[in-house]
Amino acid sequence: MTAVLDTPARTVPQTNGGVGGLLRGEWVKLRSLRSTWVALAIGLVLMVLLGWLFTGTAESGGPGGDGGGPPGLSFTDPVGLSLAGYRLAQLAIGVLGVLLVTGEYATGTIRSTFAAVPRRWPVVVAKAAVFSAVVFLASLVAGGASFLVGQASLGDLGVGLGADGVVRALLGLALYLTAIGLFGMALGWLLRSTAGAISTLFGLVFLLPILGQLLPASWGPDVVRLLPGEAGAQVFSVVPVADALGPWSGLAVLIGYLVVGFAAATVLLHRRDA
């Protein structure tokens, strides 16, 4: 026990762990919290189950069938129908993005983090990089599972992986969910409070698209299609939707939100006391 501090000083490196160390540190933080895996599992398992439910009930008049169902879910869009559970998955992943940041503020660990990295902005980048990698891979797997389960459940009406736009849709879905997770993270850095950031996330991604439908037809759709979720979701839509942006321009709008959000967050991060 005494040996620990009695050893002559300067037994450890003179520089920080660099990029590798920063990423490893954030990875340890991410994986050591149960909430990470619970949120990912809930969001992604629900996505697969909902896709299975929607495709399985379509023929009996469920979503996309003759009986109606929510707008945007169409029997003639088997890919979209099998991936429609993303609406729940995005909330779980966005909330996780919020929590990974606000959890540090709520518990005070942000001070240890910034004491280790006083320049601060590398923490923002490393957290985003590690989280993106995990969410992208998990979403790719869950999106693939939703697609396969959904198409199998559609039987003759289903399409294969080789069909037009399917690969783009699956990669796009993983990109989209990653971007929404990052959007949650940016809100977390900006607002630093769990309740505030989650409310804002729900409002922008979940509530505003619904409220937007009540806006006048002359300009309402122009607003709605520029909301982060509505714009970004086009990257995995196979059947073009009226009034919506194209796949890549839609994703570009969502990335625009991220750039603005993270830029503002980083500026504030250096002005504010930790």
Partner: protein
């Protein structure tokens, strides 16, 4: 070495720290004393580069905190109790910091061992007692084997064993030539641990001296004498530079003579002495004298609100 120069922090109208200048030197334990709201924690956060000073500078080992390339190597801090995620294990908490700072995994084991929490290292911090959380906080502060150690209220929530551990540890860290700066509101603890004291009140420096000199400043020693013939004894002791006061019959408070001289004179005159006690002012006395007007919240003010 911590060098604070004209450091100030204002939050709108409220001044937390006003023009603070002091130096914390290596090799001794330096205590940071002040009533609640005196600006101790704010000062420590500014030293750690976490809060931005309104004006002035705080240098650690010669540089601003943020300019260090391996900050955890230079300064280790325990800034508030339980700055820990309850869902994470102690080992994961330390491992993430070690990775970020480029420290070997052996440092994690070393500080776990040092803090005596190896046995609970793989338990979630949420289940830790206040004392165990505090030990993990100290382990966190020492993970980089830092030249300067900053501890804000380290003995808070510790049991007597833990208090003794902190006292021994901080003295050893100082003896190894490190700079050790700790705040506490527990005077008796401070009197036993700190050799040097920096005292603040309402964000201003009140005193910067050795602990012994600080206590001395509050009034020197006196000798309490109890004797059935106190009045006669008073006559014997009275001289230039000697003051004798009496609070109650048969009891004298003598300043300016040491206990041996008083005892010898009483014996020579054949006067019985029932008590002969050297009374030293405590750190509490010294502190209360100094900060009487500086306390942020006074009971009479509270009552008039």
């Amino acid at each position: 070495m911590i060098e604070v120069q004209h450091l100030a922090k204002r939050y709108g109208e409220k001044t937390a720290v006003a023009d603070l200048t002091f130096t914390v030197r290596p090799g001794v334990v330096t205590g940071f004393l002040g009533p609640n709201g005196a600006g101790k924690s704010t000062t420590m956060r500014m030293v750690m580069g976490l809060d931005r000073p309104t004006s002035g500078t705080a240098l650690v080992n010669g540089k601003r905190y943020a300019e260090h390339r391996a900050p955890l190597r230079e300064v280790g801090a325990l800034l508030e109790a339980r700055a820990l995620h309850p869902g994470r294990t102690a080992r994961a908490h330390l491992t993430s910091l070690a990775a970020t700072a480029g420290l070997p995994a052996s440092r994690v084991e070393a500080v776990l061992d040092l803090a005596g929490i190896t046995a609970v290292a793989d338990q979630r911090v949420g289940g830790f007692s206040l004392g165990m959380g505090q030990r993990l906080g100290v382990a966190t502060a020492l993970i980089g084997d830092p030249a300067t150690v900053v501890l804000d209220e380290p003995v808070n929530g510790l049991d007597p064993d833990g208090v003794l551990w902190i006292r021994t540890l901080t003295r050893r860290l100082a003896a190894e030539g490190r700079t050790v700066f700790l705040s506490s509101h527990l005077m008796s603890e401070m009197a036993q641990t700190a050799e040097h004291l920096i005292v603040v009140g309402r964000g201003r420096l009140l005193s910067d001296s050795s602990t012994a000199a600080f206590i001395e400043h509050a009034g020197g020693e006196s000798v309490r004498v109890r004797s059935p013939r106190a009045t006669e004894l008073t006559g014997l002791l009275a001289a230039d530079g000697v003051t004798v006061t009496s609070g109650e019959t048969g009891l004298l408070d003598v300043r300016g003579l040491d206990a041996a001289t008083i005892g010898d004179r009483a014996l020579a005159a054949g006067i019985a002495v029932h008590e002969l006690t050297v009374v030293r002012p405590s750190l509490e006395d010294a502190f209360m004298t100094l900060t009487r007007d500086e306390r942020e919240y006074r009971t009479d003010e509270e009552m008039h609100r």
